[in-house]
Symmetry: C2
Subunit: 291 residues, 2 copies
């Protein structure tokens, strides 16, 4: 809501479950969501941030009522006909939608932003990523739990659902990165771990490129890339409230030819979520204005 | 000191700087260390846990006074004639010493314990590791800082010294793993990160083996390996005060032939430090008794 206001959106309405209806968010009274509200609604553009099950139910109703929907859940991300968009990477794909544009996973967005310029420069052969994800990625309750824990209780957590031998979070990173980069066979292996940090996701990334690329060249390519800021030792604390993805520790992977290692950090609540969705909206509205 | 008592060592003396001399640790009055004390000393076996510079100065003096020295610093780890020992992996090397046996880095110990059985089964081609290291690895002050921080201040840290484009911690992991496993060319790439956890180091590990090894076979080999306990989702919290290295999330690396992914955790103060040193002492005393 704050980002929308800040970036000039007006005539904003807020919908939530009956539990929150009647409360106020950013000065706007929350209305009860539900089929009626969305169908009845004079809604040009809807942002959904309500979880996969509810998105699967409500988004199609809003689409049927001619609203353009930007959905933050994983309900539609891999569907054909639903662009999965990181504006800096594949913004041109956003307009080819059938009413829904999906916002990627909070780890996929910074990863795609860091990988796209390397793909342009040297091609991508394979990617391995270990995540350091913050509590805010698991929601307000997880943040509250971290705040109320004693330091002795701080621990790493692995709080995702298993799909075979990996977490759904890990398979999302692979599938979504492939779709965004339009590299449907790109080999990606992710290990996802939550750390006792409130805000900011970090990723240790090993990339193998098709062609040789020195660490210095890779860093200067990333430095020029949209949405990237080079920092020597980026941390979540540095990323909080920052719109850019911070990339640092760019170095050669000594174990393999054409290998690079990087450390990627972003504010999972800003570029990892809300900002990316608002940027998608700006793209879509720009395209509409041109029609 | 507690481990020594628990495991039957007696006639224990404690030495420290003049700052601590006169205080009591585990019921033993601390004496002032320094050349005189060590040279004068009737000391059969000395454990040094005093940092690299002081070890470089004092350990040779104790050796000259015929004490057998087990050193926890990095001062001698890579020296020829100094065995670098993880008892479960290369305990047989401990006796071939010239007065000093070195205790490896707290991340190298669990990594070597997890890699050694895989080397036996299928050979090692390359290793990549992202660490999640606890505050206790940086000492009591870092633990105190974490305890006194607000949750909002918790951040990832990278508090090691740079050597070229990597941290000394990262080059130690490579060099020490090569020495312990006796694979002097083993390609190893490490990214080291400190997390806001008080005790317990974790590592996300990608291993490529020379020969094919299924994840199920790898897990059952690790399950039989000395010093390893298989846990589905090992965390530092589970590892605290545990003597074993916890290994879990053993799965195929889908990006490469003969690739495995694992998650390795240990109590960096127990198996990552004190316990490993005491086990080395037990090996050495056993070997002496046999002479």
């Amino acid at each position: 809501m704050r980002l929308l206001r800040k970036r000039g959106f007006s005539n904003i309405r807020a919908f939530a479950s009956s539990r929150s209806a009647g409360t106020t968010v950013e000065g706007i009274e929350v209305e009860e969501a539900g089929a009626g509200a969305l169908v009845a609604g004079d809604l040009d553009l809807c942002f959904f941030s309500i979880g996969t099950e509810l998105s699967a139910e409500l988004v199609p109703q809003a689409v049927a009522a001619s609203a353009l929907c930007i959905d933050k859940s994983s309900a539609f991300r891999l569907d054909n006909g639903v662009p999965l968009v990181v504006p800096e990477v594949n913004g041109a794909r956003a307009s080819a939608n059938e009413g829904i544009v999906a916002n990627p996973n909070c780890c996929t967005i910074p990863l795609a932003i860091a990988l796209a310029p390397l793909r342009e420069a040297a091609g991508l052969r394979r990617v391995r990523v270990a995540t350091y994800q913050s509590a805010s990625g698991a929601g307000a309750d997880a943040m509250e739990r971290l705040r109320s824990e004693l330091p002795e209780e701080h621990d790493l957590r692995m709080d995702w659902a298993l799909e075979g031998d990996e977490f759904d979070e890990e398979s999302k990173i692979r599938a979504e990165t492939r779709k965004i980069l339009e590299l449907p066979e790109l080999p990606v292996s992710a290990t996802c771990v939550r750390v006792p940090v409130l805000i900011g996701h970090a990723e240790a990334v090993w990339v193998e490129t098709e062609e040789s690329l020195s660490a210095a060249t890779a860093e200067s390519i990333l430095d020029e890339a949209p949405g990237v800021r080079i920092e020597p030792f980026p941390t979540p604390g540095q990323a909080v409230q920052t719109e850019d993805v911070l990339v640092g520790r760019v170095r050669q992977d000594p174990t393999v030819e054409n290998g690079l290692v990087l450390f990627v950090v972003c504010d999972n609540l800003v570029k990892g979520a809300a900002l990316n969705a608002v940027q998608i909206a700006e793209l879509l509205l720009g395209a509409r204005a041109l029609v």
